[in-house]
Amino acid sequence: MAFIEISNLSKSFGELVAVDAVTMEIAGGSFTSFLGPSGCGKTTLLRMLAGLEEPDAGEIIVGGRQIFSSSQMVNISARDRKMGLVFQSYALWPHMKVFDNIAYGLKVEKASQQDIETKVDSLLNMVKMEGLEGRYPSELSGGQQQRVSVARMLAVEPQILLMDEPLSNLDAKLRLEMRTELKRIHRDTGITVIYVTHDQVEAFGLSTCVAVMNEGLIQQVDSPANIYSRPQNLFVAGFIGTPRVSLIPGKVVNGETRKIRMEGEFDLTFPKGPPLKDFQEVIVAVRPEDLKIRRKKGKDGVEYLIDEILMSGPDLLLYLRRKASTLLVRVSRNFSLSQGDKVYVDFNPSECNIYDRKTGNILLA
């Protein structure tokens, strides 16, 4: 039994379905991210876990204890759930000093003054804020405020730490620094972290497990590596990865041998996997960095023309065209190419994923 079990959890705001019968499990000690575009329901899901938003239906079980159930009318209040929540806006109490912000939860628990001081000291140490306990939040930088906000929640030793886009208000450099800090804190405390973000780099860098959400539905829950290389449906394939994946429509000409006639009039054969249905409409997804190009036609090279070349720092992005079909390829910046050149692309079938065009679900990976 997983540490957190969410079943059929739903929440609507008027006509808008924010979270649509979500069912998932989260392992104890994991760092799980809810990743999705804005408005996908990830923050609502997080707030329902925290007990700040009342679900319309469903059930939440944490550590074997039912904390919400619509059928049995159970709704443990936020203050009894033993979870911490780090807000996007930090939500530090502006009228309290750093020390009092962190000590607040301990005072609520009626801890002794000495315990409070020891605890706050060690937390300040953990988030590297020693010596700043006398400051007011308005006297701190964004990054420092975020550290206090994390320490404040860790003070009450929650089982679960929820974070709602905690780094989105920081500038790029600080964000990178805080990312490593969060990872260290997670390692040091062993706490279960649930993290909401729309930034896939952040989610991949921090998480042991990523749940991709869209329109209130969980699209895929998996390790970052699998999410990236084996998206379970077209939404995840298209949402994950910059530059984006190329999606090429095709039609199965021989299901038995997995031979597909691609848009742009060329054939690809996939050596491994279960048979496909003859004449099935499919979409082949391939990431720009998984393609190889050559100047000369090799054994299986497919001829394309270079439409546009974009320099992206370490690499070049090539926008290729073959008849009506387009393709995005990432190559080393050492290639000397120019617009209008003819190139040959090697598709490596083991790096491609094939999706059903109608359902959008994966057929062959």
Partner: protein, 611 residues
């Protein structure tokens, strides 16, 4: 580990759990609790007034044969509404005053607003301050100097300043009647229009007008098609506000109308109450309330959807100021001169007259402190009125104490309730209960003060079950304050509660704090300045309020304003001047404290125009 059983739980357990979940929302619980006092102080009195107006009162049984107290009747409605002297004429007079005041406030308010916000007129700061001054004063503060200025021996009222200085005797229609009422009220209410229109004008970026200009529109066309439509909602709201205030006010029309037999509805309500004809008094109150309610409704219908204009432009609004050229100085001087002559001169006259031993003699030799600190000694040659000076007057001291008591206690309770209303409204945003709480607490703004007094007499005048009759007690005076000032207090409360984000409270909830603790330790410290603002606002508006209390005071609960009015009404003028001077000084002092407080806390605590 708690065992999870998935079988059906009993309905009763479910119901209990359901209630527990619902009651874990503090705003909901608080809203339900607030519903009780709000209903008692606002809804029940209205029902009680309607019942009172449709049934025989005890006093009626002595006048009308066959009438039984408490019995349903429409007897008075037909009688009152067809009676010219009792109802029709006062109604027409009321509409006349309302319209006159609306026109006057619009003209003066718009002119000064345009000059201050759209031209390069010098001395904007002083003009702005002077133009908001009249509204701070009690609404009838200028009625007393008006009489002092224009009364004359020709009317048998003794010499006034005009007659003393020039020998001219003002005709009666200048001394009493609609003209002086409209002028005095117009001077009191024009700051409404000034404040609202100038802030609307300030928010019209001249880029909007410049865009029109670039597209080839002329000055007049730009004004007609761009500037005016944007300012219109604010202007309309301000005019409607001054109309409704003018028809609901009591002091000025009573002092400047009644001796000349010009009666408006508010005055008629008081007369009927004094004559113990309560049913008719209640009927007129209902009509007055209905009138104001209709106006407010129309206002919200007409401009409701267009209110958004006021916030357009926002930050960094650039303005092109119309150059007044050579006329800059003369125009500025005449605006300041206008306010000095119409506001400061009368106030000066008021103060000066309070230092005159004998009425009508403005010479230095007549200067005396008799009306301030004199004793009532019949042997004393300076003994004139039979009353001691205000500061020796036991009645004054008692009224002063009563005013402070009622205003302080009332303000503290009202402002605190306002904060709670604010919490419910902000946290329960979009929910039916919070919308209900918000609209109920807003109702009293539509009820003129004197009619509000009538409401409370109809309800609290007699005992109901365990609740004793409250007439003549401090309790009813304080309840009046709470009920009538609730709209202002709750508006202040709502804007205070919007300040700290909800997440600050959620953060405390997540770390385990119960609601009372969260309220005390998180919300209250962050909204306290709103509470203080609410206290000051309610205190100031209560301390200068006459109409609300005039029908309810007894010799025990008498307050400064009603005492002043009593002396003014019975012709003990110098004493009433001294009292009014005290009131004005008191009000200005507290407004000063409020402004200081606002400046120190560094933010605007209330919407402009409440104070």
């Amino acid at each position: 580990m708690e065992e999870i059983r998935l079988e059906e739980v009993p309905t009763i357990t479910k119901l209990a759990r359901f209630l527990k979940i619902k009651l874990s929302h503090p705003w909901l619980v608080l809203g339900l609790i607030l519903l009780f006092p709000l209903t008692l102080l606002i809804i029940v009195p209205i029902i009680s007034l309607i019942i009172g107006a449709t049934s025989f009162q005890l006093a009626d049984t002595f006048r009308i044969t066959g009438a039984k107290a408490g019995e349903f009747t429409l007897y008075f409605w037909g009688k009152a509404l067809s009676n010219r002297g009792l109802f029709i004429q006062p109604l027409l007079n009321t509409l006349l005053i309302g319209t006159g005041v609306a026109v006057m406030t619009m003209v003066i308010g718009c002119m000064i607003a345009w000059l201050v916000s759209r031209t390069d007129i010098p001395l904007k700061g002083p003009i702005d301050a002077l133009a908001t001054l009249p509204y701070i004063l009690p609404s009838w503060a200028l009625a007393l100097p008006w009489l002092e200025l224009f009364r004359n021996t020709g009317m048998g009222l003794g010499t006034g300043f005009l007659e003393y200085a020039t020998g001219l005797k003002a005709p009666p229609w200048i001394v009493f009647g609609p003209l002086p009422i409209v002028i005095v009220l117009g001077l009191h209410y024009f700051p409404f229009v000034f404040i609202m229109v100038s802030s609307a004008l300030r928010n019209v970026s001249s880029e909007l007008e410049e865009a029109g200009e670039l597209l080839g529109a002329g000055r007049l066309r730009i004004f007609k098609t761009i500037t005016f439509p944007i300012v219109m909602p604010a202007l309309l709201a301000a005019i409607i506000l001054s109309f409704s205030r003018a028809v609901g006010t009591f002091g000025t029309p009573s002092l400047l109308g009644l001796p000349g037999r010009f009666t408006v509805l508010t005055v008629q309500i008081k007369i009927l109450m004094d004559m113990n004809r309560q049913s008719e008094c209640y009927i007129l109150s209902i009509i007055l309330i209905a009138m104001c309610a209709v106006i407010f409704y129309l206002n919200s219908r007409v401009i409701g959807t267009r209110k958004g204009f006021e916030t357009m432009g926002g930050k960094g609004v650039r303005k092109y100021l119309v150059p007044l050229g050579k006329l800059r100085t003369p125009i500025s001087a005449s605006v300041i001169g206008f306010i000095v002559v119409t506001i400061l001169f009368p106030l000066g006259l008021l103060v000066w007259s309070s230092f005159m031993l004998n009425a009508g003699d403005y010479s230095i030799s007549n200067f005396s402190l008799q009306h301030w600190i004199g004793v009532a000694d019949p042997e004393d040659p300076t003994f004139i009125t039979g009353y001691p000076g205000v500061f020796r007057h036991p009645m004054f001291l008692r009224c002063f104490r009563n005013t402070i008591l009622i205003a302080v206690v009332g303000a503290a309770i009202t402002a605190f309730m306002g904060m709670l209303v604010g919490y419910v409204v902000v946290r329960g945003r979009g929910k039916r209960l919070s919308a209900l709480i918000e609209s109920v607490s807003f109702i009293p703004i539509m009820i003129p003060s004197i009619a509000f007094g009538a409401l409370y007499i109809s309800l609290f005048g007699a005992s109901h079950g365990p609740m004793p009759a409250l007439y003549g007690t401090f309790t009813i005076m304080i309840l009046l304050v709470i009920g009538k000032q609730m709209p202002y207090a709750s508006r202040t409360g709502v804007s205070a509660m919007y300040q700290p984000s909800e997440e600050l409270e959620e953060a405390a909830e997540v770390v385990g704090a119960r609601w009372l603790k969260r309220f005390r330790q998180i919300i209250w410290p962050l909204t306290r300045s709103g509470f203080s603002a609410g206290v000051l606002i309610v205190f100031i508006t209560t301390a200068r309020e006459l109409s609300l209390f005039v029908m309810l005071v007894t010799s025990k609960t008498n307050i400064l304003t009603t005492l002043t009015f009593m002396y003014a009404e019975s012709g003990v003028s110098q004493l009433s001047y001294a009292l009014m001077t005290t009131l004005v000084v008191l009000t200005l002092m507290f407004v000063g404290i409020y402004k200081l407080y606002e400046r120190r806390s560094g933010k605007v605590l209330t919407e402009k125009g409440i104070l």
